[in-house]
């Protein structure tokens, strides 16, 4: 299933200057931030836990987040969630830009950064200060991957997000593009303009465009996974199996002894 690790696809730093390569992994660098923390944030105040679920559309992220929220709440943990385009500041503006298809890559990338940091500073950090568990439905990695496949330098992107908080756990629900296509098509009977990378003129055929685009994203994730120490999870297993794997790892992190869980009636239709 997983491809042998490869060198990152070639892009240059956006500013043309050589960048110092940071080799340290999450394990070697226990700091809660990648680089300089955000202005005004004291890392020692953040007693909560940040858990990130990454993966393309159709990888089952939202389903897992619903189930994990219920499980954690039943274990007595308070949960806060975050996701893309959910900020008060620019969430709706991005929706508008996407609908118009008139936005250029750099602008869109920076609007997403604004959306991310608004949520981080106004929602996530306060939650972590209060000791909550934050479940993030995607994080900086999707934003970096999407911009990188559009030719924006990886070092540039990592530079922007170096003031972001490093997650305690990052799960990557890895699915093959064809599987993601099947699932997405089943769900909405169509494939979205942006999820198939149609702004990149990859193919006039929507299926081909989707597969090529998602393959490029997947390659970026393989690189990011190595760089940031993702916990790679087979997103093609059943919902209950993926959930069991996630629960086990999270329970270990939080010190929860029993990981037994059955979804409530309200969520039972998700349990496949």
């Amino acid at each position: 299933m997983t491809r042998a690790p490869k060198n990152p696809p070639k892009t240059n730093g956006s500013n043309g200057r050589p960048h110092k390569k940071k080799k340290a992994t999450a394990a070697e660098l226990p700091s809660r931030f990648y680089g300089t923390p955000l202005p005004g944030v004291k890392p020692e105040e953040l007693s909560g836990t940040l858990i990130v679920i990454e993966g393309t559309d159709g990888s089952g992220r939202s389903t897992q987040i619903s189930l994990l929220t219920e499980w954690l709440e039943s274990e007595g943990f308070a949960v806060q969630t975050m996701g893309l385009r959910r900020s008060y500041l620019v969430g709706e503006d991005i929706d508008g830009l996407l609908a118009e298809n008139a936005v250029t890559r750099m602008t869109l990338s920076l609007m997403y950064s604004t959306d991310f940091f608004d949520q981080l500073e106004r929602r996530i950090l306060p939650a972590l200060r209060s000791g909550l568990i934050v479940l993030a439905d995607r994080y900086i990695f999707t934003l970096i991957a999407r911009s990188a496949v559009r030719g924006i330098g990886r070092d540039y992107l990592h530079g922007i997000y170096e003031t972001a908080l490093r997650p305690d756990l990052t799960f990557w629900l890895n699915v093959r593009p064809e599987v993601a296509f099947d699932r997405e098509f089943k769900k909405s009977q169509t494939i979205s303009y942006w999820e198939s990378g149609r702004d990149m003129s990859l193919s006039n055929d929507l299926f081909q465009s989707f597969i090529r685009y998602q393959s490029m994203i997947k390659r970026e994730f393989e690189y990011l996974s190595k760089r940031h120490g993702f916990i790679e999870t087979d997103g093609e297993s059943s919902v209950s199996e993926v959930n069991r794997v996630l629960r086990k790892r999270i329970a270990l992190h939080l010190g929860i002894r029993s990981t037994h869980y059955r979804p409530s009636h309200a969520l039972s239709q998700l349990w496949r």
Partner: protein, 244 residues
């Protein structure tokens, strides 16, 4: 691996978004003015623009913070005072990126002389006065083309601040740097904020090759000097109206 994913070549080879700063990849030219509020920069750029317009040159004038893209977000953020140093900075960067990708770059490639009232140095000076890391800011704007000339209009703090305060009934919250919590008095806060920005500008004079302009010199005399410098550093002939 599925049969489809394994053999698909990258259809679009990712391209770097900016060439090395010193090698120009376009026939156009970029002239920018920088300086704190009240330093006289906008008046001088306006006069330069009029001179070139009247001469029939191919020029385009662009201003900082003018794109409709982030207007609603900026308004929302400012009204409710939701902006942090980071989101304030990123919103302006998104706004600049929009102008850069849709106006400045195409015009430079199309052989225009682009005049910019404030440029990335405004963000460096102002956002670092708000607490953003200078290193982070430099990276954030590294996609911007380097100007051919950067005029830095410098006036003593008192002169500049008095020009602004005299002409404005009320200083706005973010304009006065009230979000920094320096002082509860707006005029006082504005003054201290501007002083920090001025100091940040001063530190870039050498590293960013600013052309220092004395904002206290008489307007027409200063304009004469500005036109002379533009004439020396840029071959204006290439922007002149084509003779039939």
């Amino acid at each position: 691996m599925g049969i489809l994913t394994s053999e698909i070549p990258a259809a679009v080879e990712p391209v770097p978004i900016k060439e090395p700063a010193l090698k120009r990849q376009y026939p156009g030219a970029l002239v920018v003015v920088e300086g704190i509020d009240g330093s006289g920069k906008s008046t001088q750029l306006y006069l330069l623009k009029r001179w070139l317009e009247i001469g029939g040159y191919r020029i385009h004038f662009t201003e900082w913070n003018s794109s409709p893209l982030v207007k609603s977000a900026t308004r929302r953020g400012k009204q409710r005072r939701l902006l942090t140093p980071t989101t304030f900075s990123l919103l302006h960067a998104a706004d600049f990126a929009d102008r850069c990708e849709r106006q400045i770059m195409p015009l430079l490639h199309g052989g225009y002389l682009v005049l910019a009232d404030r440029y990335i140095y405004t963000a460096f000076a102002r956002d670092s006065a708000r607490g953003c890391s200078p290193h982070w800011l430099r990276n954030l704007y590294s996609f911007a083309p380097t100007p051919d000339i950067t005029f830095y209009f410098r006036a003593p703090l008192d002169v500049a601040v008095n020009r602004i305060v005299a002409g404005r009934p009320k200083l706005k919250y973010y304009e006065a740097g009230m979000d920094l919590g320096i002082s509860l008095d707006r005029a006082e806060s504005f003054r201290i904020f501007q002083e920090r920005i001025l100091n940040n500008y001063d530190q870039m004079i050498d590293s960013d090759h600013f052309v220092l302009m004395d904002g206290t010199v008489r307007v027409n005399k200063l304009q004469k000097l500005m036109r002379q410098i533009v004439g020396e550093r840029i071959s204006l002939q290439q922007f002149a109206p084509k003779k039939k």
